[in-house]
């Protein structure tokens, strides 16, 4: 199902009302921004989600200062030790500090999650714009390609691409990004179809605006918020996908700390060192859950429907 069709609005124009632009000056005390904040305040869970995402971002950026121990330094006298004050998350099968590895792992997850979606947007949005703007043969070609692309299950496609390109973080990121691209082509195309029919686009065209200007200055800014909301849905999926690929050995290669590779190692020591499995998994869960919560809030904030 495309995200567009999930909007069950009774207002036919709802998908194309401008979210960011201030409404005419009839707005008394309730500016769109204030109404937005009021909606966000009604969703404390989203605020908490946003805060946790922010904490993860800070952790990823500040990894060298937060984790005082070296995440790849092995210590043969500290193999698979239960959590203590010096190693709050315990140590792994090579005597490495799990806390440091989880902290550094956030960097990999964030990087892969965000960059892959940036790639998906960079490829998908222009294609969707063109497909939706110029109907006809070009649209048909792009959409048939998209259909075929969508038929490859996300992970199978990523595995196929990694097979061709070889396993590494960069290749996994590209594979995940390409896997997410068709979603953006479809979404953008749908939004463009709705937006291009708006009066202000016709108006701008009547004033002599060219195709590029219409797409770049009039259509794109009005679909950005929907794309942003979709990004908050895609990023947690991409984060899990990176962890899965690394877990399967097709992403980040050891000894680089990544949550997926940590879980892979943990699997062999479930009876003797279960803490090896707790923390990296909890980190993925917490991050994806927070992203989803924050995304729900963002959807409310940017959703043009005012209720």
């Amino acid at each position: 199902m495309t995200p567009l069709s999930s909007r069950t609005s009774t207002d036919p124009g709802a998908t194309s009302v401008l979210p960011e632009l201030p409404e005419p000056s009839t707005a008394e005390t309730s500016t769109p921004r204030r109404r937005g904040w009021r909606r966000v305040r009604r969703r404390p869970a989203s605020v908490v989600g946003g805060v946790i995402v922010a904490i993860f971002v800070i952790t990823a950026l500040g990894a060298p200062w937060i984790a005082r121990t070296d995440p790849i330094a092995t210590n043969w006298s500290q193999i698979r030790k239960a959590p203590t004050w010096t190693h709050p998350f315990g140590t792994d099968d090579l005597g490495r500090d799990n806390f440091a590895r989880v902290v550094w792992g956030s960097r990999i997850s964030m990087q892969a999650g965000v960059l892959s979606i940036v790639l998906a947007i960079a490829v998908g949005v222009p294609l969707g714009l063109v497909a939706g703007y110029y109907h006809g043969a070009l649209d048909q070609i792009i959409m048939r390609l998209t259909d075929a692309w969508l038929a490859f299950p996300f992970l199978i496609l990523a595995i196929g691409l990694v097979t061709i390109m070889g396993p590494s973080l960069g290749n996994a990121t590209v594979a995940i990004g390409l896997g997410a691209t068709p979603t953006y082509i479809r979404l953008t195309r749908g939004l463009v179809l709705a937006t291009a029919a708006e009066d202000y686009v016709h108006g701008a065209r009547a004033l002599g605006a060219g195709d590029v200007r219409l797409m770049g200055r009039h259509i794109l800014p009005n679909i950005v918020s929907s794309l942003l909301v979709q990004a908050t849905v895609s990023i947690p999926i991409a984060i899990i996908a990176e962890a899965v690929l690394s877990f399967l050995g097709l992403g980040v290669q050891p000894p680089t700390p990544s949550w997926g590779t940590m879980l892979n190692a943990a699997q062999q020591f479930l009876d003797s060192a279960p803490w090896m499995a707790w923390w990296p998994g909890l980190a993925i869960f917490a991050l994806t859950l927070s992203f989803n919560l924050a995304g729900d809030g963002l959807r409310d904030l940017l959703d043009p429907k005012d209720y």
Binding site: I156, A277, F285
Partner: protein
Amino acid sequence: MLEFVIRRLAISIVTLIVISVIVFIGVRMIPGDPARVMAGTDADAAGIEEIRAKYGLNDPIAVQYVRWAALAARGDLGRSIRTREPVITTVAKKLPITVELACLSVLLALTIAIPMGVLAAVRRNTAWDVAASSASLCGVSVPNFWLGIMLILFFSVRLGWLPASGFVPFWESPLGNVERMLMPAFVLGTALAAVLMRQTRNSMIGVLGADYIRTAYSKGLAGSVVIFRHAIRNSLIPVVTILGLQAGALMSGAVVTEQIFVVPGFGRLIVEAVFTRDYPLVQGVVLITASSYVLINLLVDVSYSLLDPRIRIGGAP
């Protein structure tokens, strides 16, 4: 109706052709001589020559594609580099295991999702609704491979109730089979249950606001009759579509789940194939997966149009 089916069929055929081109080009993108890639690194000159002759690797690329596609359409996807077994035979051996796993997980997901979704919709904005929505959000967010590891940790390592891994064919030991499939099916079904629950809730809320529900109430029908006979039936139609679209996610999920629980199915096959650089096998598996996704959704769309006359009259795909 017929027109709808034909159009839908035509789109599917075009999609299948594009898929096969993508897969064909994908293998050509692997660095090195395609004949050597397809024959494996330790194949002798005769083996490479055989591949070269079979696929006509000296012909123009378009001719090569047509020859390859014609073979593939007849089920000849080449031989596995490692086992020398035809790819199609290997897949036929592994597929039933994954199909069993998938069916069980769909069954589990439906059993959890539909009652929860209906309850959340009927008791909208109550604690029930909040609980169901929170559970659904957690289900979408939890990484399934970690969930699998945690279940093993709890039910196998800690409590010793269920075997942690392995597979026993159903006809050898039905109990052993179900025992080993329970955790994988639950792990695979979690995300699906979460998605289905959300969809059931949304479509149920939509249906409950419809005129015919008001009519049903106003003619004096009991609440339970209205819900069970009128509302649930109609709200399940979109759920069927979602189920079709989720088939891909299910296949992706099976790869991970089978890896964790050491289930020797289709998903494990592809990971093994990748690690052994068994390109014909990877190619075959990817092609079969994508094609079956297209076919499943074709079936879903066609059956959907049978269920709901508005679709075929409106003509929207």
